[in-house]
């Protein structure tokens, strides 16, 4: 029998859920609100109702070129994601469909690299980038972001591929499909949803990556994360302008996330829910 839940309990949980959601979203909301304030309003104290001025946006645009870091963010996140998929799809494929005794160990090892604090390798990475002339270079940073997210991409794809029942592949083999036919007609269509959500999640992760992108760039390859930082340090605390810059930086990814909610939720649950 299903547990019966009274209406008042349901209402209580709904309100609680909204409060938690609002708490989590609040920093983003307040950033957006502040971006529509004047600098005087912004430092005046807590206030949820902005005057609605667009002066911060105008100033951000006039002083800095938003387009360049935006394009850098797009190139870095999409580029690193595509690179990661090119490496990860065959890797996850072989681990899922022809595993060896060591497959689990390799997966764990890959994941363990994510347990290390990035700052621990900051100096060697910086020196490598410097010596190879990769500082402030989009190509170098793309590879860096790809490597950072590769373990997660492999894990996600591996989990998705594992969900494809082996009997279906055997059925295809019995039905006369060649290896190529099996891949084109059966495996790929079944794997596309998994690949798509991995792609989306990885774009978001790469877009938001702020440690390496800030430290390994100056101007040429600087993405939106560096764009935000450039407002916070040298010019002191111009809250409204900083908020406007932040809003501009997160807006594209917020929109992308909003439209791909369904895929993302599935991606984030890591294939645990069948």
């Amino acid at each position: 029998m299903a547990r019966t839940v009274s209406d008042s309990t349901k209402l209580g949980w709904t309100i609680a859920a909204w409060i938690v959601a609002l708490l989590i979203f609040f920093p983003i909301l307040y950033t957006i609100i502040t971006s529509f304030k004047s600098e005087t309003e912004a430092i005046a104290g807590f206030n949820l109702v902005p005057s609605g001025t667009l002066e911060s946006y105008a100033e951000v645009q006039s002083q800095y070129n938003y387009f360049k870091p935006f394009m850098n963010s797009v190139i870095l996140s999409v580029g690193s994601t595509i690179l990661a998929l090119i490496v990860a799809i065959p890797a996850a494929w072989s681990m899922a469909f022809s595993p060896t005794n060591r497959t689990k160990d390799i997966l764990m090892w890959m994941l363990s690299t994510k347990m290390m604090p990035a700052v621990a390798v900051l100096v060697p990475m910086y020196l490598i980038f410097r010596d190879w002339n990769l500082l402030d270079n989009r190509g170098g940073l793309t590879v860096m972001l790809m490597l950072i997210n590769l373990p997660i991409v492999v894990w996600m794809l591996y989990t998705y591929f594992r969900e494809i029942p082996g009997e279906i592949l055997e059925a295809a083999r019995m039905d006369g499909a060649s290896l190529w036919g099996e891949i084109v007609y059966v495996l790929t269509p079944m794997a596309v949803p998994g690949i798509a959500s991995t792609l989306l999640l990885n774009i978001i992760l790469a877009w938001n990556e702020a440690f390496w992108t800030i430290r390994l760039t100056t101007t040429n390859a600087a993405p939106l994360t560096a764009f935000i930082v450039s407002f916070s340090s040298p010019q002191g605390l111009f809250w409204a302008k900083l908020s406007a810059a932040s809003t501009l930086a997160i807006a594209p990814i917020l929109v992308l996330g909003w439209f791909s909610q369904k895929q993302l939720v599935r991606g984030l649950t890591f294939g645990a829910v069948k």
């Binding site: 009997e167 059925a171 499909a177 060649s178 007609y185």
Partner: protein
């Protein structure tokens, strides 16, 4: 054609031997059932024939051609899986058409054959649906449809009904048997359910721990089980196996008597017994009794028989139906 011959076929996974050594001949058009308990190697044997597993030794011939090292697709066999293994992203029509498409048939031929298969299997109204929108029985029929369009030399069924509920299982059992009569193609069917084996098979292969215990028609196995394993496995309810003094009287280590071959009387008989649980099925009653000096027995009685828990009854085995087994478990 669909003559399949296994010669000295063996299969090991690492150090574990699943099938030590099997010789088997399956005639064209036969309905052969591989039956045995879980882990007896029946599915492995089917997969060896299908080519989904490689043999460790021996050879497999189909229609006189050695296919031991050939890919599954080249063996001209069709398989129906336990999980149905339908392609979830394709419609029913596309699922059924898939093997034809892989074989490079023209669209015209594909359409004709799919329509025909759908008609035979009552799937005409579901052709545009996806497998996810079908019931278990319908999915099973799609899986069969996908198998029959290829006109294979033999069908392989791997426990195809075990995911269905009891009522549907009965219906599908009939449908598959009917299909065999229509197509007259060799079918190899794997099941752990001896009722499926008895009702569907022309020939039953009883497997135990990778060995063939006995091969024969359902009634041969029922009448003349060659050993204790087959005696205990074939028949429902199970044959009563009795050891000790009662067996010694028949000059055997063990005697077997089926529940339906025990005569019941309330006044006299060979063995005196106390009634335990009585299972009333309507047409029959299965009595679980405790016989003096013998032990627990199962008796099949008339459905109308009025006996209660704790009643005393007398049982007399039909002497011509007593099976005798020696110390090695083989029939005497």
């Amino acid at each position: 054609m669909g003559n399949i011959t296994l010669k000295q076929v063996s299969k090991s996974f690492g150090a574990t031997t699943i099938i030590p050594n099997i010789d088997l001949n399956i005639e064209d058009g036969e309905f052969v059932v591989f039956v045995g308990p879980s882990g007896c190697g029946k599915s492995t044997l089917l997969r060896l024939i299908a080519g989904l597993e490689d043999v460790s030794g021996g050879s497999i011939n189909i229609d006189g051609r050695d296919v031991t090292n050939e890919a599954p697709a080249k063996r001209k066999l069709a398989m129906v899986f336990q999980s149905y293994a339908l392609y979830p992203h394709m419609t029913v029509a596309k699922n059924i058409a898939f093997p034809l498409k892989m074989a490079g048939e023209s669209q015209e031929v594909i359409d004709r054959k799919v329509t025909e298969a759908a008609r035979v299997l009552n799937l005409t109204n579901y052709l545009e649906r996806r497998p996810g929108q079908l019931s278990g029985g319908q999915r099973q029929r799609v899986a069969i449809g996908r198998a029959i369009v290829r006109q294979p030399s033999a069908f392989l069924f791997d426990e195809p009904l075990s995911n269905l509920d009891a009522a549907l299982r009965g219906t599908m059992r009939l449908e598959i048997s009917e299909l065999h009569h229509q197509l007259k193609t060799t079918m190899i069917y794997v099941t752990h359910d001896q009722i499926e084996a008895m009702t569907m098979a022309d020939k039953i292969v009883v497997l135990n721990a990778g060995n063939v215990e006995q091969v024969g028609s359902p009634m041969e196995l029922y009448r003349k089980p060659q050993n204790l394993f087959v005696a205990g496995f074939i028949g429902s309810p199970k044959m009563n196996l009795i050891e000790g003094e009662a067996a010694a009287k028949h000059g055997a280590r063990t005697i077997g008597i089926r529940p339906e071959h025990l005569k019941i009387s309330t006044s006299e008989g060979t063995w005196k017994a106390k009634v335990g649980v009585a299972e009333h099925l309507g047409s029959d009653t299965f009595l679980h009794v405790q016989a003096d000096g013998i032990g627990p027995l199962t008796v099949r009685a008339d459905g109308e028989l009025a006996v209660q828990h704790g009643d005393t009854i007398y049982l007399t085995p039909n002497p011509s139906k007593v099976h005798r087994f020696g110390a090695d478990g083989k029939a005497l």
